[in-house]
């Protein structure tokens, strides 16, 4: 168990990170991600508000649909990356990172004073689980006595599971098909036990990290920070051309470094903070890295000077004083 943003969380269950990782890639894994923050944002002007405070366009979502988004700060960086779910015409749910929850709530509450809408932190009352892997739909259809073929990626559905009211979204952080399950905190235990008993493999924070890395997803605090301009990342598609908070700074910034994928051409682990080189010249830094449990290659995401940020470019990573050869690659590292 480890302490994570004030929550006691398992880094791994007894079988270990690799088995958990492979369970998600090959069958079904289950994560308790109740540490994530859940904010209800609602009111007559909620669409205008969200279009201003978030980079993606929440106005384009129909009720029952969700999108990845980011919250810009005033200096061209980010407050957090989030998932935004439209529950009804004037009601949204936002899921933010545990470590940023207080900052997000105070930031949004401050900006909401100009709009007819409210931001309510419901994190303590809502538990969140992620059922991920190619077998998750079949498992959930059986347990929920429902047909999920019509529920597309990023779709939402209310369901009864083990006698509990739950809301599921076809979303996740692993690159596999899967569902995130919102449930009242008081019902969480019944749902977790039911899913594990039905065959879902319990997975911890360690596998969550290796899975999201293989899938090429960012982790706030590593790939993304308060100073990250999303236009310099592979996630620039999130930024829609509309008025938003801090737009002038974000839009004007150049990208001296870009965020890229990296594959080591010999075995090794490129960890957070390790430096990148072209010959003797330092050209960047690893944001996070691991050995892919699927391909068994060293993979990483890294910030690198713009002129080297081209797939196929050969560079090296300094690991304990040695320069290990690596290649810039497109994300993701594996196709879900």
């Amino acid at each position: 168990m480890v302490e994570f943003s004030g929550w006691a969380m398992p880094l791994q269950y007894p079988t270990g990170i690799n088995e958990e990782h492979l369970a998600v890639r090959q069958s079904v894994g289950l994560f308790d991600v109740s540490h994530m923050g859940e904010l209800s944002i609602r009111g007559p002007e909620v669409v205008d508000f969200l279009r201003f405070v978030a980079l993606n366009d929440a106005g384009r979502l129909r009720p029952g649909r969700a999108q990845y988004s980011m919250l810009p700060n005033e200096r061209g960086g980010l407050v957090d990356d989030v998932y935004v779910y439209r529950l009804a015409d004037t009601e949204y749910l936002m899921v933010c990172n545990a470590g940023n929850r207080e900052a997000v709530v105070s930031h949004l509450t401050r900006l909401a004073s100009d709009y007819d809408c409210v931001v309510v932190d419901e994190s303590e009352d809502v538990a969140l689980m992620a059922l991920q892997g190619p077998g998750s739909a079949v498992l959930l259809e059986r347990l929920g006595d429902t047909d999920l073929t019509g529920l597309r990626k990023n779709g939402l559905l209310d369901l009864e599971l083990f006698g509990q009211e739950v809301r599921i979204a076809r979303t996740g952080y692993t690159g596999e098909d899967g569902f995130e399950i919102f449930v009242a905190s008081t019902s969480a235990d019944a749902v977790w036990r039911g899913l594990v008993t039905a065959g879902a493999f319990p997975c911890g924070l360690g596998a969550r990290d290796t899975l999201r890395l293989e899938a090429g997803f960012a982790l706030f605090g590593f790939e993304l920070t308060g100073d990250t301009n999303p236009l310099c990342t592979p996630f620039k598609w999130v930024v829609k051309d509309k008025p938003f908070y801090g737009r002038e700074r974000l839009w004007a910034a150049s990208c001296p470094r870009r965020l890229v994928g990296l594959k080591l051409t010999q075995r090794g682990v490129a960890r957070h903070g390790y430096r990148l080189y072209q010959g003797q010249q330092e050209i960047g830094e690893v944001s996070s890295g691991t050995i892919s449990p699927v391909t068994r290659e060293g993979i990483a995401m890294a910030w690198i000077e713009r002129q080297f940020a081209t797939p196929g470019q050969a560079i090296s990573v300094e690991i304990r004083g040695q320069k290990i050869p690596a290649t810039i690659v497109d994300l993701p590292f594996i196709e879900g």
């Binding site: 880094l11 791994q12 270990g16 990170i17 690799n18 360690g206 290796t210 075995r267 090794g268 682990v269 960890r271 691991t290 050995i291 449990p293 060293g298 304990r320």
Partner: protein, 128 residues
């Protein structure tokens, strides 16, 4: 957890076994359990002269990278190259196929300062 009686141990969680003047070194069952899944092992070159307590190898798990220290002065005479393609041997058989390297100590009684199994077990309990 298993700590064979015929091995010597260090507080930094290496084990050592002396046979015919050669010392075989690996990591303990406790160490592999604490590290979790081992994904990469960096081994010293055969022929390298090393000093006692010198970091000579690195074990990387998903969680972290850990230095492995030589228990004695001497020369590396053989390394377990099977670990390069199968680092998980360290988890599966830390005292068997997961051995790391063999050392020819430069002086006799090289392992005299190491702990026996009972002493190592006590040291772990003290730390945890």
């Amino acid at each position: 957890m298993d700590f064979p009686e015929d091995l010597k141990y260090n507080r930094s969680h290496e084990w050592a076994r002396e046979d015919d003047g050669l010392v075989t070194i690996g990591i303990s069952d406790y160490a592999q359990d604490q590290l979790g899944d081992v994904v990469f092992v960096e081994l010293p070159a055969a022929g390298r002269k090393v000093a006692a307590s010198e970091a000579v190898a690195v074990v990387e798990s998903v969680k972290t990278a850990s230095d492995i220290y030589s228990p004695a002065d001497g020369e590396i005479v053989e390394v377990n190259t099977a670990l390069e393609s199968n680092p998980e041997l360290l988890n599966e058989a830390p005292y068997g196929d997961g051995w790391m390297f063999k050392l020819r100590p430069s002086a006799p009684e090289a392992l005299a300062d190491m702990l026996d199994a009972a002493g190592y077990r006590a040291a772990i309990e003290e730390d945890s």
